[in-house]
Symmetry: D2
Subunit: 328 residues, 4 copies
């Protein structure tokens, strides 16, 4: 189930310390200009480097294996890969013995009967989102004039994000954050009720991103405290423009043409430098674990471009489904 | 896109004031005991009747059209329908002229080029969830020993739900609420990363339910304020039992065997009795709208069983996918 | 897996002697005029009545449960059912003991662990094609100006079909036949290589029809005897018109605008009146079976409209996929 | 639509003269031993080299990019690629002007609006089947004790295949052939009626292979000439063993445990050395074309292993679907 989409279909593969990671974009229309450089702006936004992000350095340059000819997409599947180079595999047998709390170590052992590649969290690593961001670059071109922009609006519970990150570094701990995503000039009337509403499609792909634990559209959880007379967004013109936007631009699972708005929560990075008391599965008793290796203090810092990419992919697919049925 | 699921597949159909509504359950294993009565406990939980719910009364009795023989499922698709009887169609042309704020009236007109059945909100009505609940009854039997239970934990911002409903009725307005869903004794190791994580699957189907605007797993949005050392759930025994459950029973998109926990927000019913200033699309100017008809003051009161059903369906499908690949 | 299609999606349900059989058509564009009568011409072509077909008489009138309002499709799923009335269930326990050769009796018992509904062959009955023909009526409207016409070109090895049927009746036996399907004025450039070629899509759905055992496009099996210089269809104008049509209107899995041509073979009805020596699974020894009940001498007589419907459904789906990706 | 399968899912990518071609195998169970060498036996059977096959020489060595660790599958997607090295791109602009009869040149130009990569037929090349054969190696391991073996039983209409090939070479022309595929010891009861019958699944993937124009199961087209009393396969023991096998091991779309048998026809290679009169789309008049480049006289010689691979993939997927639903 490593593919997303019905018509515009994105498949991811690779492991953190494997040979290469990559992505196939299928259902990609022909004639889209595409060169390796086009990906670098978004791929760089995803990279580490700033304070609070991991010291692992990858060039991240995409190699185009298929689907592009003379700088233009051909209509055949576009395949992009990048080699993993800066790999320092810690002793992963250790994680079998003492699975890291909050990580996929334990469940991946159970699910894959002990055969999963645990180096650098393997297929569960945030590194796999490289392909998502690359696919997002193409999806954004399909999403037309829609401008998708996500940003980190709080970290560790504070809107002074820099300060929060510094405090976390100082205490050798990690923090999460909240990403807000806005889509200005979105396509009107995409989303397919009952089971492929705009929210269903977007939440499906957003929850594929490691560390995401919640999503809310428009007023979101605050809606539970509102009256209908407050929450309803009255129309103010014949384009469907509304005075307020508690619905986040979506009614009945379909975009209403107003700005689309959602927020998603990123949990604190599991790999904290603080000592953790947890279970030693080999010795059958509690133990103390200190996670080594290079990690992000605040992975949420690198998330906005990933959220944008996921959103663009969901939108491109919904646009194609709608166009296919409705011939517009 | 009115179907959900990869192997266990649920398709919904019908409109609020159409002839009948219904559901097909495909991929249903043979040999499951099933009689019309088995559905009534959950269907009654979904019905209106208590204070704060609509006065529309439907018998909701399921007619089994296919897939069951001698009281047992046969392995062929199970089809269930129920006739709509208590229909009072208001003048739906009115909603074309003055689309109700917060409703799907406007978007359904745009998306379906003016051809959608707007009587009682048509295919966008909460009434369509009848089939979801019916399918959920079967899915719960497939989910084995897992006990799924959802409840309304707050309404209108208060945990005194009865009082909140009464106040909303008194002010002729509507309120939303928050549903909490817990799964005790869940199957271990279901969920398919990258793109069909447990959270992806559940959020996909939960956001299909009309009026849902957010979902969070485990600590959810509160995780954004926590340190990694707080949020991580340390293991305490060799079954993977954890001391805390901030992950909501899910690591890396895979169930870890601990209780599964999520919350979802239901917006206030759009059909409020309070006057709303909105746009008259025919006259091209602002107008005042008072929504008539029978409606729920707090649709969230009827939601827990719907959330349970959706969750059970997602789980049944994930169980079958996992079993198919892993032969367990 | 009782659904076909990616965007235009048809789901079938029901059993031969169950309450009702039916079909959901999802992804159906809004605004298509549709009344029960529209279905009758094709449904009558599928009915029995002529010499060589079963004496079972069903009115076959469709009841529209959803998706149509004021005589027009709404964009919501269209659900059609018809009640089974003329049911004479023979003693189906007999088929568990002595499964009928050529029938699904044995495999359905194994696959569904003894729970399948065997009355009148249950879900394996040709009766289930009622829904396919009904969906085909809608699909033909979507396929635009394409004219799909199938006919029985031989039966029992003879092109004097009437004579062949009479001889089979006289000998109390059954015969098969070959259906030829032509599509005049087909859409150009539909079909999605690699895995959803025109031939892949059409063969997938055609092989869903009970009794179909082969399909060939254009010159088909005769191509094995031809030289490339004979088989290649040279172009003769700038529309892509070819001088010959050995490719059956399809190159590289994509329609080339020429007439589409394929043939499909229908095996002789399994329920022959001739004594058959077969195995008694209860007694554990060979026995002689004479199949009772009402059956078709030549089910192929009723097949052309079913083949047309299946083809139209595959085409409608391919058209929508192509339109979604290519915006045409 | 470059993916096949519901649970076991194979995605192909690449072009004949592009950077690399490859395949992703998703839904692959963990713990399967897999090293590059394991692929070579089947990949070599697919290679050219014998009389009647192209002079293009590719090492075809697979590079494993993901999904395998310590020589065992991990449960994550397996990605295999091979670089294209022996490329001699002829002047492809020529094919835009004078599309080769029988080739995808014309349709690919129309479908992809002139952007398709036409070098060596691009994504339409038989070279893309490299990934299919590689995936087949894995699928065969999943298909358990089933032995799938395909062979070329006639070429150019003759069962003296060597002679037929030599004659075709002598006349500078090309020939097709018929592949017969048998599966000994197949799994019992796989195939999902109505829409994912064994025949539907296998034909779907077989028709994805370039140059295939027909398929028949068991007696196939000959069934049209048989009586029911001849065609029916009487059971002879309690395992479901039948005396004859006109059904090709499949009843009602489900495998009955007897040998599975089908035949498929490969059209003559389109690239014949014989002069062809066809249309010049630029000059708007008829012209004579002589196809240059390295081509197969009889591509069918290289097809058996491709047919086996496709069949194994379809079977692996059907096994997983059946296991998921029926827990066996």
């Amino acid at each position: 189930m490593n593919s997303y989409g019905v018509v515009f279909r994105v498949s991811l593969f690779g492991e953190s310390h494997g040979t290469a990671i990559g992505v196939i974009i299928d259902g990609c229309p022909p004639g889209i200009a595409l060169k390796p450089d086009d990906f670098m702006a978004d791929l760089k936004r995803r990279q580490s480097g700033s304070r609070g992000t991991t010291k692992r350095k990858e060039a991240d340059l995409p190699e185009m294996l298929s689907g592009v000819f003379n700088g233009l997409t051909t209509g055949a599947p576009v395949t992009l890969i990048t080699r993993n180079s800066d790999k320092i595999s810690s002793d992963y047998d250790e994680f079998k013995q003492v699975p890291r709390p909050g990580h996929a170590d334990f469940v991946s052992q159970v699910k894959y009967s002990g055969f999963s590649d645990m180096r650098g969290s393997g297929h569960f690593s945030g590194r796999i989102t490289w392909g998502l961001v690359a696919a997002g670059v193409i999806a954004k071109k399909i999403a037309g004039s829609a401008e998708i922009s996500a940003k980190l609006i709080s970290a560790g519970g504070s809107d002074d994000i820099e300060k929060a990150v510094n405090e976390a570094i100082a205490s050798n701990d990690t923090i999460g954050g909240i990403i807000e995503c806005r889509i200005i000039n979105p396509p009107l009337a995409i989303g397919e009720p009952f089971f492929y509403s705009f929210e269903s499609a977007v939440s499906h792909i957003i929850f594929s991103i490691p560390a995401i634990k919640g999503i809310e559209f428009g007023a979101g959880f605050a809606a539970a405290k509102m009256r209908g007379s407050q929450h309803n967004d009255p129309f103010i013109n014949s384009d469907g423009k509304t005075a307020t936007n508690n619905a986040g631009g979506i009614n009945g699972g379909i975009t209403n043409g107003n700005e689309i708005l959602f927020r998603t929560v990123v949990k604190p990075t599991s790999s904290t430098g603080v000592d953790q008391t947890t279970f030693d599965f080999k010795k059958g008793k509690m133990t103390t674990l200190k996670v080594k290796g290079r990690h992000d203090t605040c992975i949420a810092l690198r998330m906005p471009v990933i959220v944008e990419a996921a959103t663009a992919i969901a939108m491109a697919d919904l646009i194609m489904i709608d166009r296919g049925i409705h011939n517009r």
